[in-house]
């Protein structure tokens, strides 16, 4: 269970997030929507523990994974190393299976720069699921992909979430993505002291 209780998040004197609280149950997928610039990514960074400076409390499991807007891979390591370095105890065979699950079978020795953007996104997904996370965070993971690739990625993510059952929080601007992936949709709207849940 992930418990989020934020009283306030400020950047300097500017309030960004107002009081907001929500839970995500194990195996539940929650979409976070809202207009651009309202603070969705900021909220995601707080929930992921990347930004620890805020007023409030967030309970999250130790075993979490993240998929950023950009693939955020280690460009100097091959695809297989990108999985095995991040998950230090991951056997090579499991890493290869994880690559195969996202359609990157036989691409383990390639550097990220040798893969297309769609393949890099798949590798980023493989990295997230290879560690069997209890909590998965995704920040607009299908943005800037062509419609066909985005649809294929969405289906793949659906399959992987169904298979691994992590608690998932993901940011999206697309209601189609939210409806396909999420059990519940949270919308951020402007409040008197920063963004709050609608």
């Amino acid at each position: 269970m992930i418990r989020v209780n934020i009283r306030q998040k400020r950047f300097g004197m500017v309030p960004v997030l107002g009081p907001l609280a929500f839970d995500i149950a194990a195996g539940e997928t929650v979409a976070l929507t809202g207009p651009s610039g309202i603070g969705k990514t900021t909220l995601l960074r707080l929930v992921a523990g990347i930004d620890p400076v805020f007023d409030g409390q967030i309970d999250r499991p130790d075993h979490q994974a993240i998929v950023f807007q950009e693939p955020t891979l280690l460009p100097w390591r091959c695809a297989l190393d990108n999985l095995m370095l991040v998950h230090s105890g991951l056997p090579r065979a499991d890493a290869e299976t994880a690559l195969g699950a996202v359609g990157l079978c036989g691409k383990g020795s390639l550097f990220p720069g040798q893969l297309s953007l769609g393949q890099q996104r798949r590798l980023s997904l493989a990295r997230a699921f290879a560690g069997r996370p209890e909590f998965l965070i995704m920040d607009e993971p299908f943005v800037s992909l062509d419609a066909e690739t985005a649809d294929a990625m969405l289906s793949l993510t659906e399959e992987l979430i169904a298979q691994h059952q992590p608690a998932t929080l993901f940011v999206t601007h697309s209601m189609t993505e939210a409806e396909r992936l999420a059990d519940r949709v949270l919308e951020l709207k402007t409040g008197p002291d920063g963004a709050v849940l609608a």
Binding site: Q64, A65, I66, W76, R77, V86, S88, L110, Q114
Partner: protein
Amino acid sequence: MRDTQITPLLSIACLVVLWIVAAFLTADPQILPQPWDLLPRFRQELASGDLQRNLGVTLLRVMWAFALAMVLGSVIGLSMGRSVAINRWLDPWLVIFLNLPALVLIVLCYLWIGLTEAAAITAVTLNKIPNVATILREGGRALNPDLDAMAQVYRLPWRTRLRHVILPQLAPFIAAAARSGLSLIWKIVLVVEFLGRSSGVGFQIHLYFQLFDVAMVLVYAFSFIAVMLLVEWLVLQPWERQVRSWRTA
């Protein structure tokens, strides 16, 4: 032979031709001897063992100063690049040390520490640290925050983070600092030896300067340049090629 191999050789050959012409026009071997006039003197120094001994002493000083300057300069530069507060505190120091003439630091180290090996290496190290710190500060500023966040979320141990996330990003900056560092350090080491040591290439150059023996000054200078070129070709360039291999894959 490929163009990439021929061009540097041709370039060096042009330099030698220029030297021959200049020596011919000067027409005074005491001012500028012909390149072939250096060979007997070179063989003589080699046979006596003086050349190897002095080259070894200087090389050891260069390596010590280089290692210390790279480690300390990298730590300082990286801290400055990562922390605005540390940068605010140390930036004025950096500007002062960058503009402090090498000679002043060398003289002060000899005066404060004495005419010792420690003073010599300290003087060279202090001269180089600001340069390394400046380059690595830029490296620290250029680190990708998303990779940092990724490492944080996946809870990578600090060793893994340093080795596989941070150092590869810093590699071009470390290579630039190492390359400029090595060329600067050996020149400063020679000055340090010239002023206050009784061994090394700098000391020998000082000795032959007093004897107005241009040929021997050139023998020692070229011998050490040759050693540094070997270091560049056998150590620095292969290392740089290795760390950049993923870019060309």
